[in-house]
């Protein structure tokens, strides 16, 4: 099997805590996953799920308690490999005495770019993230959203093959979010692999080829967003129009009415009898759609299951 863009094997991270740091808290538990070349992979999970921990481990900002990871077939301990990786930290904060231009020029130096290359790349990047007019202002005067854009620019400045973004939409207004989405899609078109963490599930649904859901430091599901949410079908939704009074039948009385329009949910096996009812009642069928749980519902289901399990363990311990 050719090496994936990111391969993680049994990666765990424990943090010591308590008096004398004798107790250990598991932040990440035996994470094994793989991100393929050229795909956009979304990391989902509530706060404290282990998303940022995983990303920091990949970026060698923290060190694993056990397990290993490779990016582009190379161990994450290989520093030179990081020249092919771009990283946007969560809530990025940069040297506030620098201007955006100076900051990007500074970071570009670590990738061995010549002065000419640095200048042209920095200008192109500032334009790409919509900061060309603010590039001479010190970062201490930037808003959170502007800092996020600078962070994104420094992450992709050196044309990396793998980009890791920790909450890239955080702090951005709707326009900014749209621009980040466009940049991620552009990176994908250019063949770049993108791993990003997010709380915004609609972003993950829109952008990701696959998502991984982390809850309580454990990976609870990996797959295409559609695959994950199709695990459990929830029936069919029928929308129809019926002027005047509806017949006194449970099918009609259970429907939600808005003006002349009715919306009703039925089990998949009850769909055809329901359509017969509509026909006999003189209703005009507008649409029939399968009820798919959203990624958010799937996500919340996992989170609640994890909380229930945690409280069960808690009670057991007491």
């Amino acid at each position: 099997m050719p090496p994936g863009a990111i391969e993680i094997e049994n990666l765990s991270k424990e943090y010591p805590f308590g008096f004398l740091n004798l107790r250990k808290k598991k932040s990440l538990e035996s994470l094994t996953m793989r991100v393929e070349n050229g795909e956009v992979f979304g990391f989902l999970g509530p706060n404290g799920a282990g998303k940022s921990t995983t990303i920091k481990l990949l970026m060698r900002l923290i060190f694993p308690s056990s397990g290993s990871a490779r990016i582009l077939g190379e161990s994450i301990d290989n520093v030179s490999m990081h020249g092919s990786v771009g990283y946007l930290p969560e809530q990025p904060y940069f040297y506030d005495y620098l201007t955006a231009h100076e900051l990007l020029d500074y970071f570009a130096r670590f990738h061995g770019l010549s002065a000419t290359d640095r200048r042209s790349r920095v200008e192109a990047m500032l334009k790409k993230v919509g900061l060309e007019s603010a590039n001479k202002i010190q970062l201490r005067k930037y808003s959170k959203g502007m800092l996020q854009r600078v962070g994104l620019a420094q992450a992709i400045l050196h044309r990396p093959r793998v980009v890791v973004l920790d909450e890239p939409m955080s702090g951005l207004d709707p326009l900014g979010r749209r621009e980040v989405r466009d940049i991620i899609l552009e990176l994908k078109r250019e063949g770049c692999t993108v791993l990003f963490s997010t709380h915004v599930l609609s972003d993950a649904e829109t952008l990701c080829d696959r998502v991984g859901v982390l809850v309580g430091g454990r990976l609870r599901g990996v797959g295409a967003p559609a695959e994950l949410v199709n695990i459990k079908a929830q029936g069919m939704e029928v929308l129809f129009e019926l002027p005047g009074e509806a017949p006194n039948h449970p099918f009609f009385t259970n429907a939600t009415r808005t003006g002349d329009r009715y919306r009703v949910q039925v089990a998949e096996e009850e769909l055809y009898p329901a359509l017969e009812q509509l026909k006999s009642g003189g209703a005009r069928l507008l649409s029939v759609a399968q009820i798919r749980p959203t990624l958010e519902e799937f996500f919340m289901h996992l989170v609640e299951a994890d909380r229930a399990q945690a409280s069960a363990v808690d009670v057991g311990e007491k």
Binding site: L61, P92, Y93, Y97, F110
Partner: protein, 258 residues
Amino acid sequence: MRNIRAVAANTFREAVRDRVLYNLVFFALLMMGAAILVGQISIGIERYVIISLGLTAISVVGIFIAVFLGVALVSKEMDKRTLYALLAKPVQRWEFLLGKFLGLVMTLTVNTAAMAAGLYLALWSVKRPLLPSDIYLLVAVYLILLKLAIIVALALLFSCFTTPFLAILFTAGLYVAGLFSADLRTVRAVNLDPSTLGLLRGISYLLPNFQNFDVMALVIHGQGIASSFVWEATLYAMLYSAIIFVGAAMVFSRRNLK
């Protein structure tokens, strides 16, 4: 080398933009005031007063910058998380650390050189012309700079594994201990047994010996400083700083960021 140069240049730029060099204004005012005052109250000892005051001020201001900025080199970057994006680039942690160290030493060099120029100016204004032996002032300033490099290395080491407050305390404590470490070697107390004396001697060699860099008395009296003394002090400062730096790099290389 490219990475180290980039970090060092940025550290210097940070110091300049954060107005660290504004301390020079304080130094200039001190020297001007001293020059005026000395002219009125001291007859015959103007050189003595100006040189001792100037060298002490250079040393004290330098120590303050070395301790506080030295501790902030790493701790500020960790607190503000500015090093996250940097360490995710193809940069070794020791390269980052060495760049920060050299950047602050560069800042101190510029600062000390400017203060030395101010000292010469003050000396010239109270006692013209300058004497040939005044050239040794430069040697004294150079030795202060070596001392500051060791203090920066110590501050860097402590800031790699403890809180800024404790790092400042430890660095300042070691500086004070280092002023007296040479005295520990000559302790001849009758009520101490040989093993305790041996322990004290051992500790004295572990502590930095800042007396190696103190030539103020010689310079004030216009006496020369042997070149062998300067070479030995240089070698000592480089070796001591290098050992401390290796320790800092070892700690920082496995440090988990928040």
